[in-house]
């Protein structure tokens, strides 16, 4: 992109010199980077999608925006950081065989899944369950969720301070494919494939197992489901657990992508964007979360290239969220955890 803008500058110097330098409308860069932006956006969007699953499932079952889910995610990022630090990873890529590397990363992912899952379940127990017992209105749930989000964020702040943890480089991204000049790196491939596999597993779990059927039943009609012998409380715990576990997995991929990503408030913006992804696809809809995440990742990248500044990603994401809510409030695929295929 810098090359393109230099060329453009050389050609139409007068025109560009007049425009402000903080926003561009760089169609040239957009076209030339279209495919690399798409691929990178898909990899990043897969992370959004994994986090969005947690939002979408909790919303599907409880109609609650779990604001604290972003903190469940960032706790996972800390778990990844500490596990990999203990395993000797640091600011430079380690010299490991492929088997040892994969083993270490899988271990870190499992630890993060465990920690995030536990935090999510604990959150449900401590913060949300007492409110359900009291039959509290929705506003109370939302305020509790925000309070929990802040409590966790600033508990981490009190413990680790304001700065991000040192970077953890897991491996150096190598080009794997080169399709007509568009390079797909090993990192992008790993993130995308692993995230897709996890989401397919979750989708199959919800759609094909006994527990998943219970989950869909509660999402559809909690009272009737209870009468039919579904243990509602257990289903709710299960929902939070699955969301937390997926957020833990997302934390590993996020750290892969953003090596110094473990910061006390690092999950917040990503959480909002993941929620936007869930809404985009249709909240409560697992496949919608996947679609929404990938779309949002790609759209954000396009926006950043088009406007010539990486900070536009977040602005574009929020504008897309508002636009989608206005035009199609139920998202692209509609809201249906309960109405998923029986």
């Amino acid at each position: 992109m810098p090359v393109i803008s230099t060329i453009l500058l050389a050609q139409g110097h007068d025109l560009l010199a007049q425009g402000p330098d903080w926003i561009k409308f760089d169609v040239g860069a957009f076209l030339s980077q279209f495919w690399s932006d798409t691929i990178d956006g898909l990899a990043y969007g897969a992370i959004y999608a994994l986090v969005a699953m947690g939002y979408t499932m909790v919303y599907g079952v409880l109609q609650l925006i779990n604001f604290a889910h972003s903190e469940v995610f960032i706790v996972g990022a800390y778990a990844v950081f500490f596990t990999l630090s203990a395993l000797g990873f640091g600011t430079s890529a380690p010299n490991l065989g492929i088997a040892a590397l994969v083993g270490d990363l899988v271990l870190a992912m499992l630890v993060a899944m465990l920690v995030s899952g536990l935090v999510a379940v604990l959150l449900e127990r401590v913060a949300y369950r007492p409110l359900r017992r009291r039959n509290a209105p929705r506003l109370a749930f939302l305020i509790t969720a925000i309070g929990a989000s802040f409590a966790i964020q600033y508990a981490i702040f009190a413990w680790r301070g304001p700065n991000p943890e040192p970077a953890i480089i897991m491996f150096r991204p190598q080009p794997v494919f080169d399709i007509g000049g568009v390079i797909i790196t090993s990192q992008q491939l790993v993130i995308f494939l692993a995230a897709i596999v996890l989401m397919i597993v979750t989708d199959q779990f919800v759609n094909r197992t006994r527990l998943g059927r219970g989950l869909r039943a509660v999402a559809q009609d909690p009272d009737t489901a209870t009468l039919m012998g579904v243990n509602k409380e257990r289903v709710i715990v299960l929902t939070f657990l699955i969301g937390g576990v997926l957020a833990g997995a997302a934390a590993l991929f996020y750290m892969m992508r953003v090596p110094a990503g473990a910061q006390f408030n690092g999950g917040f913006i990503l959480g909002i964007k993941a929620f936007a992804a869930a809404v985009l696809g249709g909240i409560g809809n697992i496949r919608g979360a996947l679609l929404g995440g990938l779309l949002l990742g790609v759209i954000g990248n396009y926006g950043a290239t088009l406007f010539g500044n990486g900070q536009w990603i977040d602005v574009v994401a929020f504008v897309v969220l508002v636009a989608i809510l206005m035009v199609r409030p139920t998202g692209i695929l509609g809201e249906s955890l309960g109405r998923a295929r029986v």
Partner: protein
């Protein structure tokens, strides 16, 4: 002074059902002139606080006490504005700091020598900030207030972030460099020094307290008007209100826009006192702190939110060692509050409005009973 006429003297949440009247009932049964008379000393005391500098209340030497009071008054103004949105109309607005930021930038852009725009006297920026934020409230609220309540929370959160990000990205808004020397009200003391300096908290405190009382008066009257009744109807049951003929979207928009205007006003006041505006003070945690002030004090209760604002802003200033943990403390406070006292310290009252008070008195022969219910208590729509 209508506003403070609601001031309950006791925080007891249970209405007096037995023979003994609670302080709150006794207060409510007083005729309005008597209430005003009793309030005069309270108001005088509030004005005199920075001069009296009471020993227990005062801050440690490191923190300027009048400035801490200014902070509290500013928070009170913000909480009153946010209360219109959250407490009265029951709309969860998590991006209130966005309006605050817009107000600050209006003041900065039109008075700071760092800005290339034409300059106007500082005091003119106060109404202008309100007009501009009202416009933004309309732009944001127009499309989004049709949404389900919990979507509104996330959209407003996004709005707050967009405002902050734009302040960072957009060149003329100067990001972190910001604007120095934002204007202040005119006036010099006998020595020829300007009164409203960034270090003179007392003058700013008096200004903000005066504005806050005026706003309390306006909001209080609004509350007892048709608009206020519509808000409460929407807050309690939006569908029922719609069926009864309340134009829900229009009144929600009113609440949103009025709340936004008060946010903008407080932002402009803040910019004037600090004298410097950049992109660092308008993050989401600040927005949640505003919300904490409203919810803690008792959303829907004007006096309650002023009290909540005082707690939220004053505690970190008074106990400096706690300041680093304020978000942690108020985060946990929100969770605990929702469990044990969802209506806040002083709950909102669903009272008979307008002339209801007199009517009730005539009908029953004793002051109306007030419940401490608010939008945060009662039957949940979703059993969960």
């Amino acid at each position: 002074m209508t506003t403070t006429s609601d001031r309950p003297k006791a925080s007891g949440s249970t209405p007096a059902t037995s023979g003994r009247m609670s302080m709150r009932d006794r207060w409510n049964s007083l005729p309005r002139p008597q209430q005003w008379l009793l309030l005069i000393p309270v108001v005088v005391l509030i004005y005199a606080l920075p001069v009296l500098n009471p020993p227990l209340l005062t801050t440690e030497p490191g923190t300027n006490f009048p400035l801490a009071l200014f902070d509290a008054a500013r928070f009170a103004l913000i909480a009153i504005g946010l209360n219109v949105v959250v407490g009265q109309a029951g709309l969860l607005d998590l991006g209130y700091v966005g309006f605050f930021a817009i107000g600050s930038y209006v003041a900065a852009l039109l008075t700071s020598p760092d800005s290339a725009l034409w300059h106007i006297p500082y005091l003119w920026t106060l109404p202008l900030a309100m007009v501009v934020t009202m416009f933004f409230g309309l732009v944001l609220g127009g499309p989004t207030l049709r949404l389900r309540g919990d979507y509104l929370a996330i959209v407003t959160l996004g709005f707050g972030e967009i405002v902050r990000l734009l302040a960072t990205i957009v060149g003329p808004l100067k990001g972190q460099v910001g604007f120095q020397g934002v204007g202040s009200p005119p006036g010099t003391n006998s020595a020829g020094q300007p009164i409203f300096t960034t270090s003179n908290g007392t003058a700013w405190y008096w200004l903000v307290v005066t504005i806050t009382i005026a706003i309390l008066f306006l909001v209080g009257n609004l509350e007892r008007s048709r608009v206020g009744r519509a808000w409460i109807a929407i807050r309690e049951d939006e569908d029922a209100a719609e069926i009864m003929g309340v134009a829900t979207i229009r009144f929600k928009l009113w609440a949103f826009v009025i709340g936004a205007a008060i946010g903008g006003l407080s932002g402009a006041l803040f910019a004037g006192q600090v004298g410097f505006v950049n992109n660092q003070k308008f993050d989401v945690p600040t927005s949640v702190l505003f919300l904490a002030a409203v919810v803690l004090g008792g959303s829907g209760n004007k006096v309650g939110v002023v009290l909540g604002a005082f707690v939220v802003s004053y505690v970190p200033n008074r106990f400096v060692e706690l300041a680093a943990y304020k978000y942690l403390i108020f985060g946990i406070a929100l969770i605990i509050l929702m469990m044990f006292r969802p209506q806040g310290l002083l709950g909102a009252r669903q009272r008979l409005l307008a002339y209801g008070r007199q009517a009730y008195l005539r009908l029953v022969g004793r002051p109306e009973q007030v419940s401490s219910d608010s939008s945060l208590r009662g039957e949940g729509e979703k059993a969960g």
